[in-house]
Symmetry: C2
Subunit: 283 residues, 2 copies
């Protein structure tokens, strides 16, 4: 099923994150992407480990696809020393998996506030400390850490890094070859400082990943699985793509949507729809 | 039931917003506050109009209480001219009601993006335009408009003004006697620029209201009714109170919590708990 994905024309930068079509087992996802001429995919640790890291790497490589990101490391805001050590060990494993998959980008979601903790500034510092411990290990294995700011609605339970400016404040303490940031439209669309942050990230060579999802309401309970298909919401997706382009980013444009309504449909149909929406709302 | 609320000691700045105990009819709310020695209350237009604006004003005045805010005006991001005119007319009515209640503060929630609209910067400008039309009318009636930044999770459907900096960027186009801002811990706690914004707001005499609620997860569907009782969440409430104090704010500290679990309980008990939590977590 190998095709020449290098010549896939207007989809040449498109990548689809595995979780967008989690109903598809990895071989079917790979086949679907090849059929459409989509050259990239983003992977998640859980399903990859289930399939086997080496087997997944071979499957993707044989199909001529590129793994644009591995999601995800992070969750290292624990103040308890044992929990912190465990988180760092798990992150080193994530780096190894990223290297095994041949991707240079490990996405980091920093983690929220420990129970009873009300000091978010301090938690952000613990993120920076953990990145300092992890970055050289990752660089030795050819993997760059990509700090992802998550929407402020996740600040307490998933990610104390909420804005691109905050992510850059941490990333810029390290060489750009070691630590970058993720620009994700779902998390940043509301922020009037996002454009300034993208320019700053681009100037420093820090845009490690550009991810797309649309914003739709009402948000579901827990607010995790409410991302919209491209074009279904209020995000100026093309405007964001133009901003990252203007900032000098030439990498993959990865669609990452968590939405049970998409998961309930035929996976190949969702992939085709995603490519069509990408053409219409992003290019 | 009149008591001397001016001498209520450590509760001298406390105000409880009506929606915190929406199970209480206005006379019971007033009685409960007087019993506890809480001198202030924040009112909502709906229940006040049901009770009658003049009757409500008399009830509150006779009890020696102060109406710290009226919630709310705003929702003027419509681009359709008729909708926009209707919103402005409704806001003038809200100003009249505020004046009738004897409060100097009308809280404005700006409104979200109209259906199909992806230009949030433009919507924010329409907010500023509406404030320009409304501010002189309000000033003539002794009412100051208070722009409330709402958490970014409401940016698309309720309030395109998401940060204190954005609220101040609009407010500062007008005299401070006409337009101020609301500092609400629930909406701002995650923002590392909140302290800077509070200092800026205080320096300009712009803090029109200081409101408290705690942040708890998981967020409920629609994310409207998930605010936590003081002390139940991760917000450094005392830290925020110290920031507004340091910025020169000497006004009311208003507790505004929307939470069905509080509404299901005995209202007087919730009021007493709120006063106790205020003593423990805010003072």
């Amino acid at each position: 099923m190998r095709t020449d994905n290098r010549s896939s024309g207007d989809l040449a930068r498109l990548s689809v994150n595995q979780e967008t079509v989690r109903q598809l087992p990895l071989p079917e996802l790979v086949e679907g992407l090849v059929t459409l001429g989509v050259p990239g995919l983003g992977l998640w640790r859980g399903p990859v480990r289930e399939y086997g890291v080496e087997a997944a790497a071979k499957l993707v490589r044989d199909a001529g696809l590129t793994v644009t990101t591995l999601c995800r490391g992070g969750f290292f805001t624990a103040s308890d020393p044992d929990e912190r050590a465990a988180a760092l060990a798990d992150n080193r494993a994530a780096v190894d998996e990223a290297a095994g998959l041949g991707t240079g980008t490990l996405v980091l979601v920093s983690g929220g506030l420990p129970a009873g903790d009300r000091d978010i500034a301090c938690a952000r510092e613990r993120v920076a400390d953990a990145v300092a411990e992890l970055a050289p290990y990752a660089e030795e294995r050819g993997v760059r850490l990509a700090i992802e700011p998550l929407h402020p609605m996740y600040a307490s339970d998933r990610c104390v890094v909420s804005t691109l400016a905050q992510a850059l404040d941490i990333a810029e303490r390290f060489p750009a070859r070691q630590v970058g940031v993720v620009v994700d439209t779902y998390h940043l669309w509301w922020d009037d400082r996002a454009a300034e942050g993208i320019a700053r990230a681009g100037a420093g060579g820090r845009i490690a990943s550009f991810q797309l999802a649309d914003w739709v309401t009402p948000l579901p309970e827990g607010v995790l699985l409410g991302r919209g298909q491209l074009g279904d919401g209020c995000v100026d997706l093309r405007g964001f793509r133009e901003l990252v382009d203007a900032a000098g980013y030439t990498g993959a444009v990865e669609v990452e949507i968590f939405n049970p309504a998409l998961w309930a449909r035929d996976g190949a149909e969702v992939l085709a729809e995603t490519a069509a929406r990408y053409r219409r709302h992003v290019l």
